[in-house]
Amino acid sequence: MGTPFADMTELDRLVHDPSRLAITSTLWACESADFLYLQRVTGLSKGNLSSHLAKLEKGGIIKIDKTAGRRPRTVVSLTEPGRTTVAEHWDRLIRLHEAARAWVPSES
C-alpha cells in the first residue's frame, strides 16, 4: 500500500502555487473581486499579482474584465470550469492534509 502522499502527483500545479491558491481561494468565496481587493487580501505586489492573474487566465481558471472610463477597473472572477477545478483542488488538499495528519510510517 502506498503513502497518502501518492495523491500529490495529481495536484494541479497551476492552482497549487501558494500565491495562485490565495487568489483562487478569494475568488471562490465571491462572484468577483477587483484588482485592488485581490492585492490587499493576498499581500502581493501589483507586478506579481498581474503575472499570476495572467497565468490563471491563460489556464482558463479565471476571467478578467477591464472597464475603461474615468476610473479604469480590473474585475476578476472564476470561470465555470475554473470554479470546478478550484473546488476539486481544495477537496484534494483537505483530504491530503487529513491523511498526512493521520498517517503513521510503517516499520518495514
Binding site: 502522499f5 501558494p18 491558491l21 468565496a29 462572484e31 468577483s32 481587493y37 490587499r40 487580501v41 492534509h97
Partner: protein, 199 residues
Amino acid sequence: MVNSYELDRLYRIRRSTAEYARRRGLYLAAFGLFLGYLAFAGVRENLVVPVLLFAVLLAAVARYYRKNFGTVVPRRDGARFHAFWLIPVLLSGVLVVVTAANVSGTPGHLTGGLIFAVLLAVMGGPPWPGRGHYPASAAVLMALTLAPLGVLTPSGAHPFASADPLWQLLVVGALLVVNGLLDHRALVRSLPRPAGEEE
C-alpha cells in the same frame, strides 16, 4: 504540500472575502450617527438637512472603501442573500410586538428596547462568530431598558421614556457606531496594506 499554517491562512482569506460586505462597518457607524442625530426634537422638525448629511456621509464611506479596499461582489448563494428571507419575518415580529404592547398598555420604551435589542442581536448573524459585540450590545441595551434608572432623574421617569432628547434612540445610535467601528477594525486587520505601499 500546504501546511497547517498555510491552510489556516487560506481559510482566513475565504472568510474575509465572504464577510467583506458585512465588515464595512463605517456604513453602520454612519447610520448610527444619523439615528443619534434624530434623537433631538429640533432635528426631527426638519429632516431635509440630516437626510442630506447622511447621503453625503454614505457617499464618502462608499468612496473610501472603493478606493482603499476595492470591490467584491458577494456570492449569490452566500449567507448575505439567505438573510434577505429574514426581513419579512423580522417585520412581522415587530408588528406583533407593537400590537401586543398597544393592547396591553406596555410603556413604549420597553417595546422599543426589546425590538432594537433583537434587531442588534440578529444583525450580528447568529451564532456570531467573531461578532460577539452585537449580542453584547443587545444585552447592554436590554439591561439599560429594564434597569430602574428613573431613580436617577428628578422626575422619577425612566430616561428612555423622555420625549426630548430620545435617549433610547441616542443609545441605539451610539451602539451602532461602536459596532460599526469594531467591524471596520476587523476589516482593516484582515486586509493589511501590501508591503512597500504604506502611505
